[in-house]
Symmetry: C2
Subunit: 136 residues, 2 copies
DNA sequence: CTTGACCTTCCCATGATGGGAAGCCCCATA
DNA sequence: TATGGGGCTTCCCATCATGGGAAGGTCAAG
């Protein structure tokens, strides 16, 4: 099948399929005489794997590791779980960070009348708050 | 004061201060004969405002709007609150999305033995799950 | 006067993705 | 058989916010 069909079947855009190939995330498929890429069902399988990993927030480099683990039948499930757990911690840390920002803003907004008057503690806070701790 | 001191006092890197100037987020300061940028206390005040907005997850374009609101003494606090509330919704939606990813992974990981054996439902799921709904 | 810290501009890189141009290929229909 | 339209190819550019680093000018202390 051509790249268009592989894209439709895997949910990965043709643009991204070519990109993943260019960075060596997936293997280069064979080509027709006219240089058209030709994919097999197995390739769609792999693309879906990548798509799923991306949907779950893994970076392309992490996805690369997952693919390697997937192809390595001798690796222990502990290796996979370790990577997954580390990623879960990352995701939850980021979620908590966003929620903390929202909480801070919500707190400020609670003290803003939100009427026709110009006074608003949200902006005054922005202008005067001491710096937050530097990000690591 | 020079850009280095303005940077130290505001918590915004010199690199970013120049960038913010280049995109018109902040005004171009006056210069010495040697083309060194010269900042006043008020500029540091503005930079801190920007820093705080960024820390709270506002994009540079949103920060631009906030700066305009800050400088506009005739605007109603409702305008500010409206922007803030919209941003809070964005932040909470993103936080929830990340948490949902983490939950999904945690669920998968719970069924992975995590021992020396190779079987791991995490990766098998990746390879076989139907596509998630397309993102908006 | 030298040295070192600071400033200037300019270009490049990141991560993941999309947009679009120019040009070739393939198939169906008139 | 010719033509048209859609799909394929490569290549370059844009996004968002930030940092790295080179090459060169400047300033202040010793």
């Amino acid at each position: 099948m051509n790249i268009g069909e592989a894209s439709a079947r895997s949910g990965v855009s043709a643009k991204m399929i070519r990109y993943y190939e260019s960075i060596g995330l997936i293997e280069a498929p064979s080509r027709t005489a006219a240089q058209y890429r030709v994919y097999a069902d197995d390739d769609v399988h792999t693309l879906r794997f990548v798509r799923r990993a991306r949907d779950l927030g893994f970076s392309l480099e992490e996805t690369r590791e997952l693919l390697a683990l997937w192809h390595d039948r001798s690796r222990a499930s502990a290796d996979v779980k370790k990577l997954a757990m580390a990623h879960i911690r990352d995701l939850e840390a980021k979620a908590a960070e966003l929620q903390a920002m929202a909480d801070t803003l919500r707190h400020l907004a609670a003290h803003c009348h939100g009427d026709h008057r110009p006074d608003c503690p949200i902006l005054s806070d922005f202008a005067t708050q001491p710096l937050l701790a530097e990000k690591a």
